[in-house]
Symmetry: C2
Subunit: 140 residues, 2 copies
Protein backbone atom coordinates (compact mmCIF):
# COMPACT_ATOMS: atom_id res chain seq x y z
CA UNK A 1 0.00 0.00 0.00
CA UNK A 2 1.19 3.52 -0.78
CA UNK A 3 0.70 6.38 1.65
CA UNK A 4 -2.29 8.30 0.31
CA UNK A 5 -3.42 11.90 0.25
CA UNK A 6 -4.04 13.53 3.62
CA UNK A 7 -7.77 14.10 3.24
CA UNK A 8 -8.19 16.04 6.47
CA UNK A 9 -7.06 16.73 10.01
CA UNK A 10 -9.80 16.13 12.55
CA UNK A 11 -9.90 18.94 15.13
CA UNK A 12 -12.23 18.54 18.11
CA UNK A 13 -14.03 21.61 19.38
CA UNK A 14 -16.62 22.34 22.06
CA UNK A 15 -18.35 24.68 19.58
CA UNK A 16 -18.28 24.45 15.78
CA UNK A 17 -19.90 27.90 15.64
CA UNK A 18 -17.05 29.44 17.62
CA UNK A 19 -14.46 27.52 15.60
CA UNK A 20 -15.93 28.71 12.30
CA UNK A 21 -15.59 32.30 13.53
CA UNK A 22 -11.98 31.57 14.56
CA UNK A 23 -11.01 29.95 11.23
CA UNK A 24 -12.61 32.79 9.26
CA UNK A 25 -11.46 35.76 11.36
CA UNK A 26 -8.09 34.67 12.75
CA UNK A 27 -6.85 31.99 10.32
CA UNK A 28 -8.26 33.64 7.20
CA UNK A 29 -10.22 30.65 5.86
CA UNK A 30 -12.23 31.56 2.77
CA UNK A 31 -14.26 28.38 2.28
CA UNK A 32 -16.14 26.92 5.23
CA UNK A 33 -18.65 24.23 4.30
CA UNK A 34 -22.09 23.77 5.86
CA UNK A 35 -21.93 21.87 9.18
CA UNK A 36 -23.91 18.62 9.35
CA UNK A 37 -24.67 15.80 11.80
CA UNK A 38 -23.22 12.29 11.63
CA UNK A 39 -25.51 10.70 14.23
CA UNK A 40 -24.09 7.18 13.77
CA UNK A 41 -20.68 8.48 14.83
CA UNK A 42 -21.98 10.83 17.51
CA UNK A 43 -20.49 13.95 15.97
CA UNK A 44 -21.43 17.15 14.21
CA UNK A 45 -18.82 18.02 11.56
CA UNK A 46 -17.79 21.01 9.48
CA UNK A 47 -15.09 21.09 6.81
CA UNK A 48 -12.80 24.09 6.41
CA UNK A 49 -10.72 24.20 3.21
CA UNK A 50 -7.01 24.95 3.17
CA UNK A 51 -5.27 25.19 -0.24
CA UNK A 52 -4.10 21.56 -0.09
CA UNK A 53 -6.25 19.71 2.48
CA UNK A 54 -9.14 20.24 4.90
CA UNK A 55 -9.70 20.75 8.60
CA UNK A 56 -12.63 18.67 9.87
CA UNK A 57 -14.13 20.41 12.89
CA UNK A 58 -15.87 17.85 15.12
CA UNK A 59 -18.26 18.67 17.95
CA UNK A 60 -19.94 16.10 20.22
CA UNK A 61 -23.45 15.04 19.17
CA UNK A 62 -25.46 13.28 21.87
CA UNK A 63 -24.48 11.99 25.29
CA UNK A 64 -22.58 8.97 23.97
CA UNK A 65 -20.36 10.95 21.61
CA UNK A 66 -16.78 9.60 21.50
CA UNK A 67 -15.59 13.21 21.56
CA UNK A 68 -16.71 13.88 25.15
CA UNK A 69 -13.68 12.08 26.59
CA UNK A 70 -11.29 14.03 24.39
CA UNK A 71 -12.85 17.37 25.38
CA UNK A 72 -12.79 16.42 29.06
CA UNK A 73 -8.99 16.18 28.74
CA UNK A 74 -8.72 19.09 26.28
CA UNK A 75 -11.54 21.54 27.09
CA UNK A 76 -10.46 24.04 24.41
CA UNK A 77 -10.38 21.30 21.76
CA UNK A 78 -7.37 20.22 19.72
CA UNK A 79 -5.97 17.81 17.17
CA UNK A 80 -8.01 14.60 17.24
CA UNK A 81 -7.10 12.46 14.21
CA UNK A 82 -5.48 12.35 10.77
CA UNK A 83 -7.34 10.94 7.76
CA UNK A 84 -5.59 9.42 4.75
CA UNK A 85 -7.20 8.33 1.49
CA UNK A 86 -6.91 4.84 -0.02
CA UNK A 87 -8.22 3.54 -3.35
CA UNK A 88 -9.92 0.46 -1.80
CA UNK A 89 -11.12 0.39 1.81
CA UNK A 90 -11.31 -3.41 2.10
CA UNK A 91 -7.78 -3.90 0.79
CA UNK A 92 -6.60 -1.25 3.25
CA UNK A 93 -8.35 -2.99 6.16
CA UNK A 94 -6.67 -6.29 5.26
CA UNK A 95 -3.31 -4.49 4.93
CA UNK A 96 -3.44 -2.88 8.37
CA UNK A 97 -4.68 -6.08 10.03
CA UNK A 98 -1.84 -8.02 8.40
CA UNK A 99 0.56 -5.46 9.92
CA UNK A 100 -0.92 -6.16 13.36
CA UNK A 101 -2.67 -2.77 13.66
CA UNK A 102 -6.02 -2.75 15.45
CA UNK A 103 -8.76 -1.68 13.04
CA UNK A 104 -11.68 -0.30 15.06
CA UNK A 105 -14.83 -1.89 13.65
CA UNK A 106 -16.05 -2.54 10.13
CA UNK A 107 -15.88 0.03 7.33
CA UNK A 108 -18.80 2.48 7.50
CA UNK A 109 -19.90 5.61 5.70
CA UNK A 110 -17.88 8.65 6.76
CA UNK A 111 -18.22 12.41 6.51
CA UNK A 112 -17.41 12.51 2.78
CA UNK A 113 -19.91 9.75 1.91
CA UNK A 114 -17.32 7.02 1.30
CA UNK A 115 -16.32 4.06 3.48
CA UNK A 116 -13.95 4.73 6.37
CA UNK A 117 -12.45 3.00 9.41
CA UNK A 118 -10.24 4.10 12.28
CA UNK A 119 -7.00 2.46 13.43
CA UNK A 120 -6.03 2.42 17.11
CA UNK A 121 -3.53 5.17 18.00
CA UNK A 122 -1.42 2.71 20.02
CA UNK A 123 -0.56 0.95 16.76
CA UNK A 124 -0.04 4.21 14.84
CA UNK A 125 2.66 6.09 16.76
CA UNK A 126 0.10 7.69 19.05
CA UNK A 127 -1.95 9.14 16.18
CA UNK A 128 -5.62 8.16 15.91
CA UNK A 129 -5.79 7.46 12.17
CA UNK A 130 -8.80 7.42 9.88
CA UNK A 131 -8.54 5.57 6.58
CA UNK A 132 -11.01 6.72 3.93
CA UNK A 133 -11.82 5.43 0.47
CA UNK A 134 -11.24 8.27 -2.00
CA UNK A 135 -14.36 9.80 -3.50
CA UNK A 136 -14.78 8.30 -6.99
CA UNK A 137 -14.52 11.62 -8.77
CA UNK A 138 -11.10 12.24 -7.22
CA UNK A 139 -9.64 8.97 -8.47
CA UNK A 140 -9.43 10.15 -12.06
CA UNK B 1 -4.58 37.27 5.72
CA UNK B 2 -5.66 34.18 3.80
CA UNK B 3 -5.33 30.68 5.26
CA UNK B 4 -2.21 29.24 3.64
CA UNK B 5 -1.03 25.82 2.57
CA UNK B 6 -0.67 23.21 5.31
CA UNK B 7 3.09 22.73 5.08
CA UNK B 8 3.25 19.88 7.59
CA UNK B 9 1.85 18.14 10.62
CA UNK B 10 4.34 17.89 13.46
CA UNK B 11 4.27 14.42 15.04
CA UNK B 12 6.33 13.86 18.19
CA UNK B 13 8.05 10.51 18.59
CA UNK B 14 10.43 8.94 21.11
CA UNK B 15 12.38 7.47 18.18
CA UNK B 16 12.64 8.86 14.65
CA UNK B 17 14.31 5.61 13.59
CA UNK B 18 11.30 3.57 14.74
CA UNK B 19 8.88 6.06 13.20
CA UNK B 20 10.65 5.93 9.84
CA UNK B 21 10.25 2.15 9.86
CA UNK B 22 6.56 2.58 10.75
CA UNK B 23 5.86 5.15 8.01
CA UNK B 24 7.64 3.04 5.40
CA UNK B 25 6.38 -0.41 6.37
CA UNK B 26 2.88 0.23 7.73
CA UNK B 27 1.81 3.55 6.17
CA UNK B 28 3.50 2.93 2.82
CA UNK B 29 5.53 6.15 2.65
CA UNK B 30 7.81 6.21 -0.39
CA UNK B 31 9.82 9.38 0.31
CA UNK B 32 11.43 9.82 3.71
CA UNK B 33 13.98 12.63 3.87
CA UNK B 34 17.25 12.54 5.78
CA UNK B 35 16.81 13.32 9.52
CA UNK B 36 18.71 16.33 10.86
CA UNK B 37 19.23 18.23 14.09
CA UNK B 38 17.75 21.63 14.90
CA UNK B 39 19.78 22.32 18.05
CA UNK B 40 18.36 25.83 18.58
CA UNK B 41 14.90 24.30 18.88
CA UNK B 42 16.00 21.23 20.81
CA UNK B 43 14.69 18.75 18.27
CA UNK B 44 15.81 16.25 15.69
CA UNK B 45 13.45 16.28 12.70
CA UNK B 46 12.63 14.09 9.71
CA UNK B 47 10.16 14.89 6.92
CA UNK B 48 7.95 12.19 5.42
CA UNK B 49 6.16 13.11 2.19
CA UNK B 50 2.48 12.45 1.60
CA UNK B 51 1.04 13.29 -1.85
CA UNK B 52 -0.18 16.72 -0.69
CA UNK B 53 1.70 17.66 2.50
CA UNK B 54 4.38 16.35 4.89
CA UNK B 55 4.64 14.73 8.27
CA UNK B 56 7.43 16.27 10.37
CA UNK B 57 8.68 13.66 12.82
CA UNK B 58 10.20 15.37 15.86
CA UNK B 59 12.35 13.68 18.50
CA UNK B 60 13.81 15.40 21.58
CA UNK B 61 17.37 16.69 21.21
CA UNK B 62 19.11 17.51 24.48
CA UNK B 63 17.86 17.69 28.04
CA UNK B 64 16.02 21.00 27.56
CA UNK B 65 14.03 19.87 24.52
CA UNK B 66 10.47 21.23 24.55
CA UNK B 67 9.31 17.80 23.37
CA UNK B 68 10.13 16.03 26.65
CA UNK B 69 6.98 17.34 28.32
CA UNK B 70 4.80 16.21 25.43
CA UNK B 71 6.32 12.71 25.47
CA UNK B 72 5.92 12.47 29.24
CA UNK B 73 2.17 12.86 28.68
CA UNK B 74 2.15 10.85 25.44
CA UNK B 75 4.92 8.22 25.69
CA UNK B 76 4.11 6.69 22.29
CA UNK B 77 4.22 10.12 20.63
CA UNK B 78 1.38 11.81 18.77
CA UNK B 79 0.16 14.93 16.99
CA UNK B 80 2.15 17.91 18.22
CA UNK B 81 1.47 20.91 15.93
CA UNK B 82 0.15 22.10 12.57
CA UNK B 83 2.23 24.34 10.30
CA UNK B 84 0.71 26.75 7.78
CA UNK B 85 2.59 28.78 5.17
CA UNK B 86 2.36 32.55 4.79
CA UNK B 87 3.95 34.82 2.15
CA UNK B 88 5.47 37.24 4.73
CA UNK B 89 6.36 36.17 8.27
CA UNK B 90 6.46 39.69 9.73
CA UNK B 91 3.05 40.61 8.34
CA UNK B 92 1.72 37.35 9.74
CA UNK B 93 3.16 38.08 13.19
CA UNK B 94 1.53 41.52 13.22
CA UNK B 95 -1.76 39.95 12.06
CA UNK B 96 -1.90 37.35 14.85
CA UNK B 97 -0.84 39.86 17.49
CA UNK B 98 -3.57 42.27 16.33
CA UNK B 99 -6.05 39.38 16.77
CA UNK B 100 -4.88 38.98 20.37
CA UNK B 101 -3.11 35.63 19.76
CA UNK B 102 0.09 35.01 21.73
CA UNK B 103 3.03 34.70 19.34
CA UNK B 104 5.80 32.71 21.08
CA UNK B 105 9.03 34.63 20.50
CA UNK B 106 10.52 36.33 17.47
CA UNK B 107 10.63 34.75 14.00
CA UNK B 108 13.55 32.34 13.66
CA UNK B 109 14.86 29.89 11.08
CA UNK B 110 12.79 26.70 10.98
CA UNK B 111 13.19 23.19 9.60
CA UNK B 112 12.71 24.27 5.98
CA UNK B 113 15.23 27.12 6.24
CA UNK B 114 12.67 29.94 6.26
CA UNK B 115 11.44 32.09 9.15
CA UNK B 116 8.85 30.58 11.49
CA UNK B 117 7.08 31.31 14.76
CA UNK B 118 4.64 29.41 16.95
CA UNK B 119 1.30 30.66 18.27
CA UNK B 120 0.03 29.58 21.70
CA UNK B 121 -2.51 26.72 21.48
CA UNK B 122 -4.82 28.46 23.97
CA UNK B 123 -5.43 31.15 21.35
CA UNK B 124 -5.72 28.65 18.48
CA UNK B 125 -8.56 26.32 19.48
CA UNK B 126 -6.19 24.05 21.38
CA UNK B 127 -3.88 23.54 18.38
CA UNK B 128 -0.20 24.50 18.75
CA UNK B 129 0.27 26.31 15.44
CA UNK B 130 3.46 27.02 13.54
CA UNK B 131 3.46 29.80 10.96
CA UNK B 132 6.16 29.50 8.31
CA UNK B 133 7.22 31.78 5.48
CA UNK B 134 6.91 29.85 2.21
CA UNK B 135 10.16 28.82 0.59
CA UNK B 136 10.84 31.32 -2.24
CA UNK B 137 10.78 28.70 -4.96
CA UNK B 138 7.26 27.65 -3.96
CA UNK B 139 5.87 31.19 -4.25
CA UNK B 140 6.00 31.18 -8.06
Amino acid sequence: MKLGRLNHIGVATPSIADSIAFYRDVMGAETVHMPFDLPDQGVKVCFVDTPNTQIELIEPLGEDSPIHGFLAKNPAGGQHHLCYEVPDIHEAKAWFEAKGARVLGEPRIGAHGTLIFFVHPRDMGGVLTEIMESPRDELH
